[in-house]
């Protein structure tokens, strides 16, 4: 099957399926719109504007994403927070990739008092730097997947390892977070989404990476990698983030998402319903 590869939103995409020119145009439009609205790495994005002056961001994605953030924030006791943008910038993960870490900065705990949302979009009552990194890529995978609903046959939408598939089963490796030539397990995906998160890429110094605890503004250190498998990519992506904290497993159970996570010391845990194979000392 044809594989269409391109770079967008800072990662490498692969779309496998019987796409024609208009399908590709539809995908490009969806990605461009999402990026223009939600990318913290663009000067001209709506999110960047909200970060400097506040105001309104019109987007149909606001309600699904912020509703999910509310659930994440509640489940993790505030460790996941959509206003973590300034915390990431404080550590150097900013639009210019300065990667010069300053003092850690906690995200505003009362984020839901600063940001309000409905089906039309969201409003920031004060300048607030939103970062949808906990689930935005999953949301975009779902949007692209929907845009390709009329493509016949098998379909794989893979955004740098976060993916959603339809049709034939896709055998997928769980990449070892400390050795990208190895896997810690494999899982068969069928009409499902799998999202992973790990601290090995998007890392720029000793203990500096992009998975932060919003309450402290510091990178996490207990869990090295997480994977979540569900019906939708956005929820799988969200759970993959939540699994870096206490409360992640409970939310996963609530949402019917199965998961695996690996600690920085090499131990792994999985949900009771995880069906994939794990390569461990006690298989």
């Amino acid at each position: 099957m044809a594989i269409w590869r391109f770079d967008a939103i800072g990662t490498r995409w692969e779309i496998e399926g019987d796409l024609d020119g208009s399908d590709r145009s539809a995908v490009s439009e969806v990605i461009e719109r999402f990026d223009r609205e939600w990318s913290r790495f663009r000067d001209d994005s709506a999110v960047t504007r909200l970060g400097s002056v506040g105001g309104v961001l019109e987007s149909a994605d606001a309600a699904p994403m912020l509703d999910a953030y509310a659930a994440l924030s509640s489940a993790t006791a505030g460790a996941v927070n959509p206003l973590v943008g300034a915390s990431l910038e404080a550590l150097g993960y900013d639009a210019a990739y300065t990667l010069a870490a300053g003092a850690a900065l906690a995200a505003p705990a009362a984020w839901s008092e600063v940001v309000a949302w409905n089906h039309q979009g969201l409003t920031a009552s004060a300048p607030a730097l939103i970062d949808v990194g906990a689930l935005g890529k999953g949301r975009l995978v779902d949007l692209v997947f929907s845009a390709l609903a009329r493509v016949p046959g098998d379909l794989v939408v893979d955004a740098g390892g976060d993916m959603r598939v339809r049709g034939s089963s896709v055998r997928t490796a769980l990449e070892h977070p400390f050795d990208a030539t190895k896997a810690i397990g494999v899982v068969e995906l069928q009409d499902a989404a799998l999202c992973g998160s790990a601290i090995n890429r998007r890392a720029w110094g000793d203990g500096l990476h992009h998975v932060l605890d919003a309450r402290t503004g510091r990178p996490v250190r207990t869990w090295a990698a997480t994977w979540a498998l569900g019906a939708q990519a956005m929820r799988a992506d969200a759970i993959a983030t939540a699994l870096f904290f206490d409360g992640g497993p409970a939310l996963a159970a609530d949402w019917g998402v199965e998961w695996v996570r690996m600690a920085t010391d090499g131990k792994v845990e999985r949900s009771a319903g995880w069906t994939g194979q794990l390569f461990t000392t006690r298989p």
């Binding site: 770079d7 800072g10 990662t11 490498r12 790495f41 990739y97 300065t98 990667l99 794989v156 955004a159 740098g160 390892g161 976060d162 993916m163 896709v170 055998r171 997928t172 490796a173 769980l174 990449e175 070892h176 977070p177 050795d179 030539t181 190895k182 896997a183 810690i184 494999v186 995906l189 999202c195 992973g196 998160s197 790990a198 890429r201 998007r202 720029w204 110094g205 605890d213 309450r215 250190r221 207990t222 869990w223 990698a225 206490d246 497993p249 690996m262 600690a263 010391d265 131990k267 792994v268 845990e269 999985r270 949900s271 009771a272 995880w274 794990l278 390569f279 461990t280 000392t281 298989p283």
Partner: protein, 152 residues
């Protein structure tokens, strides 16, 4: 009074203990008149603003504390030795990197603490790989630039 006579080694330890949030000196020598400091500030014990009028019995004191980090519940144990009213020895034990062992009991979690054994991707018939998202362009270039600066 401990606060007025702390040598540097104690200041260092105090920062650690401060993280514990709850620092209670439990005298091993019975009803020690060690001060109980429940301040949760991260460096409350290293403050030197208090007067130096208090006295402590010489001896060895141990304090145990536990605290919730974003990801774990950590425990720590600190032992101080006092001689002539001054701290002469400090020992801090604990494993601040320990995974959240309590969590393993959770009903949502299966597969307790199995150790990973990586298998080479080349040996697996897989069509996809999932892990941390691949990075592209700008980020990788920025990291390379930093490495070069650090090396020069």
């Amino acid at each position: 009074m401990i606060r007025t006579n702390v040598p540097q080694s104690v200041r260092t330890a105090s920062a650690l203990v401060g993280v514990a949030g709850l620092f209670v000196l439990a005298g091993c020598s019975g009803a020690a008149d060690a001060e109980t400091d429940k301040g949760a500030g991260t460096d409350s014990s290293s403050s030197s603003s208090d007067s130096g009028s208090g006295t402590y019995a010489d001896g060895t004191y141990t304090a145990d504390g536990s605290y919730q980090t974003p990801e774990t519940v950590e425990s720590i144990s600190v032992t101080l030795t006092l001689a002539d009213g001054k701290v002469t020895d400090v020992e801090v034990t604990g494993d601040p990197q320990a995974p959240e062992t309590e969590e393993y009991q959770s009903k949502f979690i299966d597969g307790i603490a199995d150790e990973v054994v990586g298998v080479a991707l080349d040996d697996l018939k897989v069509s996809r790989v999932s892990g941390s998202s691949l990075t592209s362009g700008g980020f990788n270039a920025a990291v390379e630039s930093i490495k070069e600066q650090a090396a020069s």
